[in-house]
């Protein structure tokens, strides 16, 4: 730091600019490391096994790691099943939130109708509520309906979390498809439904896929509602939460890594849409 200020005092504007540049890039590098290093370290913990946990002092270098302890964790009773359950619940969430949310988004984007503002208010209102907590009273009604301790039940409550988001984001996506294209299709004899599926849907598809990925991640990561609403058919987060206190350390790290990997892949897949989507949904 002191060398930094010294050089800026006596040096020319060019080196002032370059030292600012240096400062900028070291800040960026530090923040990248802040994100990445902890993930690297938990991966080491997951691949280091039982012995790895007790190595002291640790170097942080990838020594003594193998896939074996991680595979052993995957083979533990309940892990694969809960992994599949998580996928199931997330699949239901994706399907429902798109099927229910996209038509609403289309209506908001293309029509003026009475009650539009009230509908938007309802959707925005859900944001001010800690939605997962609404799983608490649902326990009783879900038991009565036979939905308690099922993947469908978890998927339903996760859809409450993802649906408002899906409606708002798809509204933005449909607004981005020029109305003129759709009207041109009508002129050429398409019905409304045909025009939608032949003209609008293909253009909106990438954005809708990105929305679906977000719905997936919302469900995949949700802990509270899933833990409250299941006993035997646990999702991965619910399973890990309940076995946490009696699991050895390296199992906990392996669990953390299993949770992280799929969502990181998905976020990577939609990285180009991240900012457009959040630009829309935060309006």
């Amino acid at each position: 730091m002191s060398r930094e200020t010294m050089s800026t005092i006596k040096a020319s504007p060019a080196s002032f600019a370059s030292s600012r540049r240096w400062l900028l890039w070291s800040g960026i590098a530090a923040l990248c490391a802040w994100v990445l290093v902890p993930i690297y370290l938990v991966a080491l913990g997951a691949l280091g096994g039982r012995q790895g946990v007790y190595i002291w002092p640790k170097t942080g270098l990838p020594t003594g790691i193998s896939l074996e302890p991680f595979i052993l964790f995957l083979k533990t009773e309940g892990v694969v099943q809960s992994f599949l359950n998580s996928f199931g619940a997330a699949g239901i969430t994706v399907a429902l939130s798109i099927l229910l949310g996209a038509p609403a988004g289309y209506a908001l984007a293309r029509y003026d109708f009475r009650g539009k503002d009230s509908y938007r208010l309802l959707v925005l209102l859900t944001r001010a509520f800690p939605l997962a907590i609404l799983a608490l009273p649902l326990t009783v009604s879900f038991i009565r309906l036979g939905l308690y301790d099922t993947i469908i039940g978890v998927g339903l409550i996760h859809t409450v979390l993802a649906l408002p988001f899906a409606a708002l984001v798809t509204q933005g996506i449909f607004l981005g498809v020029p109305k003129e294209l759709e009207e041109a299709a009508w002129v050429f004899g398409c019905t409304r439904v045909q025009a939608f599926f032949k003209v609008v849907a293909p253009l909106a598809l990438p954005g809708i896929v990105a929305t679906a990925v977000f719905a997936f991640v919302i469900s995949w990561n949700e802990v509270f509602a899933a833990s409250v609403l299941t006993v035997r058919n646990r999702t991965l987060t619910a399973y890990l939460l309940t076995v946490l206190s009696e699991s050895p350390m390296h199992y906990r790290f392996a669990g953390g890594l299993v949770l992280i990997l799929p969502s990181v892949v998905f976020i990577f897949a939609v990285r180009r849409y991240l900012f457009a989507i959040w630009g829309i949904s935060s309006k």
Binding site: L24, I28, L31, L36, P38, I39, L41, V42, V53, W56, P57, K58, G60, L96, L100, A107, L108, R110, Y111, F113, K116, Y119, L122, V123, T126, R127, A128, F129, P130, L131, I133, L134, A135, L136, P137, L138, T139, S141, I157, L163, V217, W220, N221, V223, F224, L240, M249, R252, F253, G256, L259, I260, S263, V264, F266, I267, R271, W278, G279, S282
Partner: protein, 283 residues
């Protein structure tokens, strides 16, 4: 478009309205009734039980302290990230992708990641040991070290939750026209003046929605706390979970839920009032 068939938009929003009514509004009312009734009659007995519980005061204090510490730090880091990345040309996409990775990470996984770093034989102790700061393994996550545990949880929350704030703020920054900055520069405004007088007021809508989202989520903090400190650090949602699952007392759990909802709504209203967005001044 709306004259001949005015029912179309209603048909499109109906499924989502019905869904939200069934799984958002009904459980909301159920929660309130469950919380404020006893054996079918209105009663404050459950609220009394909550307030007199030994963990109540601590959980309220802990949750508020965490929110007050975590949310401003997240906003500050996100603003720093947004400002830095706006100065970068090539490599911008990669940097933003790395910074958004925690967006896909659940609070449970974040807790487990930081557990691998902060546990007794973890990397943090190893680092301190090799630097000669500590002579033997120190413990940071026990009930005897409440301040260290608090900092650990705050760090894990900041690590995970900053990404969403950053995405919203970068999306907001992208919408600020370049001309504003250039004009300010021509009139001799320095970087700090530009930031406080031009950028910050212009991204007020983005700041507002980031603050609302993050604050509501911060009051819902649960799994990260559980992963790091078990039950050594009571928070509101954790107490609701314990009353529901361990004590099987759904009513007291519901009172906690109502309390969390009231706090979230109050925070949202405060932000809406304090950061009033003037539509005339938007770019």
């Amino acid at each position: 478009m709306t004259q001949n068939r005015p029912w179309i938009p209603y048909l499109l929003i109906l499924p989502s309205v019905a869904f939200l009514a069934l799984l958002f509004v009904v459980p909301l009312v159920q929660t309130i009734w469950l919380a404020l009734s006893d054996n079918g009659a209105p009663s404050l007995a459950n609220a009394e039980r909550m307030v007199t519980d030994i963990n109540f005061t601590r959980s309220v204090r802990n949750t508020f302290l965490l929110t007050i510490v975590v949310v401003p730090v997240q906003i500050a880091i996100a603003l720093a990230m947004g400002t830095m990345v706006s100065k970068v040309g090539r490599g911008r996409e990669t940097i933003l992708w790395i910074w958004t990775i925690p967006l896909g990470i659940s609070d449970l996984a974040a807790g487990l990641v930081w557990l691998s770093i902060l546990q007794n034989t973890g990397y943090f102790n190893s680092l301190l040991f090799s630097l000669g700061v500590i002579g033997r393994q120190a413990s940071w996550l026990s009930y005897q070290t409440p301040i260290a545990l608090f900092i650990a949880i705050a760090v894990a929350e900041i690590w995970r939750g900053t990404a969403i704030v950053m995405v919203i703020i970068v999306a907001g920054l992208n919408q600020v026209p370049k001309e504003f900055k250039e004009a300010a520069e021509i009139f001799g405004a320095g970087p700090w003046t530009r930031f406080w007088r031009i950028t910050l007021p212009l991204i007020r809508p983005a700041l507002q929605s980031a603050l609302i989202l993050r604050t509501v989520l911060a009051f819902e903090v649960f799994a990260v706390v559980y992963a790091l400190g078990g039950r050594n650090f009571p928070v509101l949602v954790g107490e609701a979970y314990n009353w529901q699952n361990q004590n099987q007392n759904y009513s007291v759990a519901a009172v906690y839920a109502v309390l969390i909802m009231i706090i979230s709504l109050a925070a949202t209203l405060i932000y809406l009032k304090a950061l009033k967005v003037d539509p005339e001044r938007l770019p």
